[in-house]
């Protein structure tokens, strides 16, 4: 249940919503639906841009304060990517349903938990982006995200990509970073105890995972065959997923 398991995704899994994606990686399985642009309610209607609403629903129990926090993080990130100016007075609604998440065998998990759940953030970002792409919502860029934990094990310090809940618990610090397809740092969340230097290393690791394949020239991604896929290349994953989707849509051409 670590980086070794490659991410899986399926698009358009919900026939009744404009766009949808089912994504599973590192033990997390999520489904996202995107509807929009649709009519916005009075209270969140903006005269010059679309209102982006993000709803995160836990697999078990009613959402609590921490879901609201995750929502606000996603909302502020997605609103940056979506061309909200294209659809004034309207609403673009992203609903994320957590279906399955790895559990920590060493504790009996409680239903309501208030503390931040770092490990799930990348999956949330990835799924939302895929759903938006499948809905054909105009965006200025895509994004990729990953989680990295710094674990101190018998003196040695090592970085764990896509840490398990257990690793998160024992890690000295946990980090989530998201990059736009233009290599801009879109989201950076860190918690624990670390130095600037450590964060820098984390940044390197995360960037390697999120931004490996260079932005596509002539549209076709430069698949670097010679390079052995050490860790998952999120951007390449995103691209290949979309390529197969588009190919399927345009089979008739």
């Amino acid at each position: 249940m670590t980086a070794t398991t490659a991410p899986k995704a399926a698009l358009g899994v919900l026939p009744r919503s404009d766009g949808s994606a089912k994504y599973s990686h590192a033990g997390y399985t999520l489904t996202a639906s995107v509807n929009g642009p649709i009519e916005a309610q009075r209270r969140d209607e903006h005269a010059y841009e679309a209102h982006v609403e993000v709803i995160v629903r836990p697999a078990a129990g009613v959402g609590g304060t921490r879901e609201r926090h995750l929502e606000s993080l996603l909302q502020s990130s997605l609103a940056q990517l979506i061309l909200v100016k294209n659809f004034p007075r309207s609403l673009i609604q992203v609903v994320l349903q957590i279906e399955d998440s790895p559990e920590n065998d060493y504790v009996n998990t409680k239903l309501v938990q208030a503390s931040l759940n770092f490990a799930i953030m990348p999956a949330l970002v990835q799924t939302a982006i895929l759903a938006l792409l499948s809905a054909g919502v105009p965006m200025r860029a895509t994004a990729t995200a990953t989680a990295v934990a710094v674990v101190h094990q018998d003196g040695a310090k090592k970085m764990v990509v896509d840490p398990s809940p257990r690793e998160v618990e024992t890690a000295s610090s946990v980090h989530v970073l998201a990059f736009t397809s233009h290599n801009g740092l879109l989201l950076a969340e860190s918690e624990g105890d670390f130095t600037v230097g450590e964060w820098d290393d984390v940044y390197e690791t995360a960037k390697e995972i999120c931004c490996r394949s260079t932005p596509a020239k002539e549209g076709t991604a430069m698949v670097l065959d010679d390079e052995e896929p050490s860790a998952t290349d999120m951007r390449q994953f995103l691209r290949s997923t979309m390529e197969s989707k588009v190919a399927a849509d345009l089979h008739w051409k």
Binding site: P15, S17, A60, V62, Q93, D100, E103, L111, S164
Partner: protein, 293 residues
């Protein structure tokens, strides 16, 4: 949020007319279900049911808590149903709609009140501590037949679920983590399932199984029968609508039994398959290995 728009006059008129000629828009027989599929998640207690375009997800969880004062020897068992905007933007968070209320009430009657789960087995320390078992039902995609699909999901999730093992020594309760002791299944008594009939025509003469969302919007009456594969009926709900001939209802229930048997078989089969998968070092082993390093 804008309300769900009614189907057009043309559709309403046509659906009814076609049914009188035993025609359904998707070419099914009147008493034919859409293909029903059931899968389980990596974790215990996650069931994913698809019925045509309808998809329902159920997740079972258990927590230790304080029993209700009036029932000190019973555990707590709740089924939570919420239709999120994922089902349709017409649904708002924390704004229960009629669909939602009816659905949860039917599940409540079918699974909880019929004593499918032995709640006394959930009691840990009389009057002090007990298990609270909770099933969250997520309607991911709604194209009719919610009740029937959701019921399968709930039952499947509960039968698949494992709760942490416990022990009592010297009057002190210990709840073991999965790492210490393999979790244990719930004590399950019987598996009631729902079969919903929809009635069409001026005096509801045409009875149809597993109506789609469009058909549900046009139907004149509906009736949900809940029973287990032994033919024991747990509840029958015909909530208003056109009056329907009693004889017709009787025929419905007998057909329902056939369907329920089919569903039960599917359930047993899938559960067995999943068990096999886990036994030969499936997910848990992997997790354990990963935790140990």
């Amino acid at each position: 949020m804008p309300r769900e728009a009614e189907p057009s006059l043309n559709e309403k008129q046509f659906v009814t007319q076609a049914l009188q000629e035993n025609l359904r828009l998707d070419g099914r027989q009147l008493d034919q279900y859409r293909p029903l599929e059931l899968t389980f998640g990596d974790q215990y207690g996650v069931a994913d049911v698809t019925l045509g375009k309808t998809r329902v997800l159920a997740k079972a969880t258990a927590e230790v808590t304080v029993p209700y004062i009036d029932r000190p020897l019973d555990g707590i068992f709740t089924i939570a149903t919420e239709l999120s905007p994922m089902t349709s933007p017409a649904f708002e968070v924390n704004r229960p709609t009629e669909t939602e209320v009816l659905l949860s009430r039917l599940l409540e009657k079918t699974v909880r009140r019929s004593g499918a789960l032995d709640t006394e087995s959930l009691c840990l320390v009389a009057g002090q501590k007990c298990w609270s078992v909770r099933v969250d039902v997520h309607v991911v995609s709604h194209d009719g037949g919610l009740t029937d699909a959701a019921c399968v999901a709930v039952v499947a999730a509960l039968r698949h679920f494992r709760k942490p093992d416990t022990s009592m020594e010297a009057g002190r309760l210990t709840v073991y983590t999965p790492a210490e002791r393999e979790p244990v299944p719930l004590s399950w008594l019987h598996s009631p399932l729902c079969v919903t009939w929809s009635f069409f025509g001026e005096d509801g003469e045409t009875a149809v199984l597993d109506a789609t969302w469009l058909e549900e919007q046009v139907r004149v009456a509906s009736c949900t029968v809940s029973l287990n594969k032994h033919g024991e009926i747990c509840q029958i709900a015909k909530l208003g609508g056109m009056p329907v001939d009693a004889v017709v209802l009787l025929q419905c229930t007998s057909v329902a039994l056939v369907k329920v048997k089919e569903f039960s078989d599917l359930l047993d089969r899938r559960l067995a398959e999943d068990l096999k998968k886990r036994e030969k070092g499936g997910f848990m082993a992997e997790l354990r290995a990963e935790n140990d390093r």
